[in-house]
Structure formats: structure tokens, C-alpha cells
Amino acid sequence: MKKQSPIIGLVFWILVSFLTLFPIYWLFVISVKPAVQLFSTPDVILSDPYWGNYAKVWGDRLLRSYMVNSLIISSGNAILCTVLGFFACYALSRFNMSGKESIFFWTITNRMAPPAVFLLPLFLLMTQVYAVGEWRLLDTRIGMILVYCTFNLPFAIWTLRPTVDGIPKELDEAAFVDGASPWKVITEVVFPLCRPGLAVTLILTWVFAWNEYLLAATLTNFNARTLTTGLSEYVTTTGTEWGIMATISVFTLIPALIVFGMVQRHIVAGLTFGAVKG
């Protein structure tokens, strides 16, 4: 590899980072501007921030409950998808089931469906079929966790497959020879070795679930509404409350940042997507 001056790299990255960060910075600027200033000439530099929006959002009991719902739904969904995806990948990788490659491809087709039209059947199923007596799956957190599986589970399987494939089969076989149960092999031998891939899958499915809007907007009413649906409440015929929206957005970024930060070091190691192993 050619040797380059580190300064050039640094300058390059500062420029790229500026471009990357600008829209996020602008989101923050909007959140600390009073509504009257939004439609006046924009200044790049922030002066005299106004924190009223933050007080309003923080003081809103509904938004706090949306935040809790979002956390539960996306965490529950990410864990479920990662674990089930791991099991599925183990099955696809280690067994000679007939048609398994077709099953593998079929799982991913679930992510391709245009979401708008699936809302009606999902609504009908969740109100009339997946219901017991007075209870129905619509507007429940568990319902949303399951619905999000339609796009996250395929993604999990897709990302984890190369990782699981990459763990040498000899390792499981050696463990079996030692008399370990299949459950033990899966959880204690293979699972730990897949940790980087699992971490990445977890974070990305988490982010997808955390950011989902359309399904949540239609399939929740009172009990399981998420933060992204809270955002749309501020787009009304009497004026869009950009400041409040931006503030909520900033709030949605914080947990995502924390989760992302926690697994940052695994990310590159885990996203192998079947890259050639040396």
C-alpha cells in the first residue's frame, strides 16, 4: 500500500464528516429554533438557542409512553429476530433438508413486499383472527414485535448466514463426539463464535424496528404507539410543528446512538456477508 501523509486523510475525513453531519446538525438547529424563526432567512451558525421544545416534549406524558413502547418493541423484535435468525441459519447451514436453498430465498422475499397494501390484511388478521374473546393482537406491543419480524427476520437470516457458514463444522462434530447435546452445541459452541455477526444483526434489526413508521401508524392506536407515529401527530392542517418534530427526532436518535455505540467495534467484524475468508 502507498504511504500517504496522515494529514491528507484527516482533512478528507473532516470534509466527509461535515457532509455526513450537516443534516443531523440541521435537525438539531430546527429543534432549538422558535417557530417564528423557521421561515426566515437561514443562518448556518446557531445563535441563542431556544429550549422550549425540549421542555414541551420531555413534559409530554404521551410521548414518554411512546418512547417506552418504542424501546420495548424494537428491543423485543431485535432479540427475537436475532435468536430465531440464528437458529434458522444454523439449520440451513448444518442440515441437508430438501429445498433449503429455496426456503432461504423465500424468507427474504418477505422483505420485498410493498408495505402499504399489506396493512389491510394485517389489520383484519390482527383484529379478527389473532384474537381471543375481547383481546386482540392489534395495538399490542407483542403484536408489533411479531409484525416487524416480516422484514427483520429475513434480514437477520440474510446477514447471519455467512457468519454461521463460516464456523467450521468440525467444531460442532468434535463437541458431539464429546457427548454434548445439540442444544449445548448450538448455545455454547457455535453461538459464542458468531458474536460479531449477532451483534451487527441485533443493532441493524433494532434500528430498522426503531425507525419503522407505516406499520406502526396503522396497527397501533393507544397502547402500543411508537415514537415515529408520535412524529406524524405534528403534521396537521393547522401547521406542522417542525420544532417539536425535530425535538422528538433528536430524542429518537439518543437511544439509537447508545445502542449503536455499544456494538460499534463488532460492526465491521460482523458484516461479512460471505466475504472470502483468507
Binding site: 421561515f39 426566515s40 409530554d60 403534521v235 396537521t236 401547521g239
Partner: protein, 477 residues
Amino acid sequence: MSFALKFGASALAMSVAATAAFADDAFWKQAAEPYQGVTLRGVTESSPPSLYIREVLAPQFEELTGIRVDVETTSWDQMFDKAIKDMEAGTGIYDMVYIEQDIIYSYLARDFLTDLTQLMEDNPDLVAPTYSEDNFTTFADYFKNEEGHLFGVPMEAFIKVYLYRKDLFEDPDIQAAFKEKTGRDLVPAATHEEYSEIAQFFTDWGKENDMELWGTTAQAHTGHVASWYEYVESVAPTFGVYNWGINADNNYAASVENGGTMNSEEAKEALTWWLSMRDIAPPESVQSTWTEVGTTFGAGRAAQGLVYGENAGWIAADETKSLVVGKVGVALPPLADGVMDEVESGEGYIGYYDGGAFGLPSTSKQKEAAALFLQYIGQNEVQPEWAVAAPRVTNTATYDDPKVQDMNEELGGYYDMLKDKGYLFAGAPAYPFHAQVRETVAPTFYSILTGDLSVSDGLDQMAAEAEAVLTDLGYRN
């Protein structure tokens, strides 16, 4: 002044405490006796009047009756979709749905709603002494069927008015400059020609004086139905093209050759005029829905414009959002010759009278309890506070309340206009296929806005498309 949006938890607690105890507490307590432990659920747009229901009226009602009311507030698109899915599937999730004036006909055609008049007649014990259908303004008529039975309790009503900047119109320098240029006095326009002249004058004035000022607003988004609405509801009628140019008495014809007016000469003139206004409006107008038009005006970027009444309130009086507080006047929209005669004879109207009501879905499982809440929000007694928090009037008596009269001053006489001139405006025509026709012709309309189609060809095409979809839907044969 305080708008409903600002009602946080603390303000809410105060307003609940401050509410004067009504004389009829006893009635509510007794009537609600059988429904203890019931939770009512409603869905509505998250507009200030709805938020007032959620944050103030619902808790008050719960305090009084023990019936809990959960109000789901969501965006405009989502609200309709959710209410329709619920009523269509018969799930019974909602006990109250927001009915915008233009969708009532669709809901009535499908028997989605409970006949409130009938419900009250059948259950005299449920009728509150403070509730009467006679209390409502004529806006309630839009929510009645042919027999005059009411299907929704009005909760907001507005007219789309002509707003102008009083401070600019009264500025002596500007007046002099205008006089010199046009030979006329600078007063709010009565005709389209006058309006154009004023708009052009202010756009030029802004340019000459290096100000961020233009002569008119335009709700001219090139990808959102708001632009189509401004044209059919607020511009076309002032040129004498009513009911979207669709002739309900003549097999729902839209094209001139079949007896409609969607592509009539007047329609083409109206659209051409409006496009010429759009061209001298602030540049953001091509991305403006009703929301941004309000913001543009509130930011002081336009000297005049047609603005929804929902927004007139905060533009004229809310200092946290508007830079033109106290500088706003209201007037009737400019008209073409002869339109006023048609209006007076009952044939036409000069603009949009919009708003909404709370209805009770037929699929609700708690109709009686919901009827109590609907009456509660329809009482004269709760109206003035509500009108102050979220400018809207649905009951005749509200106009006379001192608080509302004070506010009328602040809003440049908006309430007076609603009261005295409201009859000149009209809601959307009584079609059960609003969204369907709108969505069909809208893409063609956007093509006219972008210049890909000429006004004449575009309107011809829209008329043909409207007829085609009406045939498809089975309304036209």
C-alpha cells in the same frame, strides 16, 4: 393567548380545576351511572380543537361522569384510513370518529354512522338538559341526512378567508406608491383584476426594496392534494365554477360536452388566473400545502392571500409562531362578475366552509356512553373556552360570549365574518366519492402546475378522467 397545543400537564390540571361547576352535574352523574368503568375511544386529527378535547374536555368529562375517554390524535391521512378500516371491518375499536365535512357523504352512503337524532329520541333519559341540536350554527346542516337527522356533533368550523396585511395596506408610503402606479386606492380587492394588481404591486415592491415580501400566497404544492383543493374549493367558485365542475343532476358529468363544467371556459380562466398568481407568490409556494401557506403568511412573506380559517387564528394572534400578530385584516375573497348574484340566489358559493364533527360509528359497542360525551362537547357552556384556546365556532351562542368577542378583535373581525357572511361559503359538494375523484385527477392537475400540460388540455383531461373513474365506481352510467 393560549392555544390548545400548549396545554401541558400542568396547564391541564389548572383548567380542570378552574372550570365552573355546571348546574347540571347531577344529570351527568346520574346518566353515566350505568357506564362506570367504560372507556370510550376516539380518533381525530391532531389539530388544536381536537387536542383541546383530549387534554381538557375528556378529563373534565371523566371527572364528572367516571367514563374514561381516550382520544387518539394522528395525522390527517392516517385518521381517515384508521377510521375507515375500523368501520369497514366492523371491529368496533372506535366509539367516536372525526368526520371531516367532505367525507360525511361517503360515510352516510355506507351507513357507517349512528343516527344521533334517533338515538336521542329512543333514549330520552340520555338527553342532557343543556344539549340541543338547535344550538349549533348552520354548519351542522352538513352532518344531517335528507330527513334532517344529525350524524355528527360539530367540533370545528372555519371559512377560507382573504387575509391581508393591515399594516402594509395602511402604510402611507405604500398607499401613495400604489396610487401613483395604478391610480387606485389601496384597499382589499373585490375582483380578481384588483387582486392581481395588488399582488403584482407588492411583489415588485418587495423586489425594489430588497424585502422578503411577495404579493400573494399560493397553496400550489406540485405533489400534494392541497393545491388541487385550493383551486376547486377557493378559486374556481369565485369564477362561477361550483361543485368541482361535476354536475350531480346530470349523471355526474364533468366535461362540458356532457353537461359538466370542469373544463369550461370559466374553469380555464380561473386556473390561468390562479397560476399567474402562483408565479408571483413566494418561491416556496410550489411546495406549499395549507400548512406552509399559513407559515408563509405568518412569517410576513406575503401581503395578502387566501388562508384557511384554522390558520387565521394563530397567524393573527399567536406571537410564538407568527410575526404578523395584530397586523392582519380579513375580507371576502375577490369575485368574478355575477358570482355574488348566483350566491344570493342559492346557486353558488364564494369559498370553502370546512370543518368537522365527531360521529358515532355504527360499530361502536358503547353508543349510549359515547352519546353522553358527544352531548358534553356540544353544549354551549364548554364552547367559549374552547374557541379561545383553538379558534373555531360551532354554536350560535358562542359568538356573543365576551371572551370570543375580544378574540374577534384580535383576529381582525374573523368571527364576525364567520357569523355574518358564513352563509356565502359552502362545504364540499354532497358526493360520496371525494377522495376517489381527487386522487384520480390530482396527478394531471400537478402536470398542469409543472407546465407539462397546458391549462386547457389539462382540464379537458381531468374532466375525462373524472368521468371515467365515476363510471368505474358505478356512479355514472
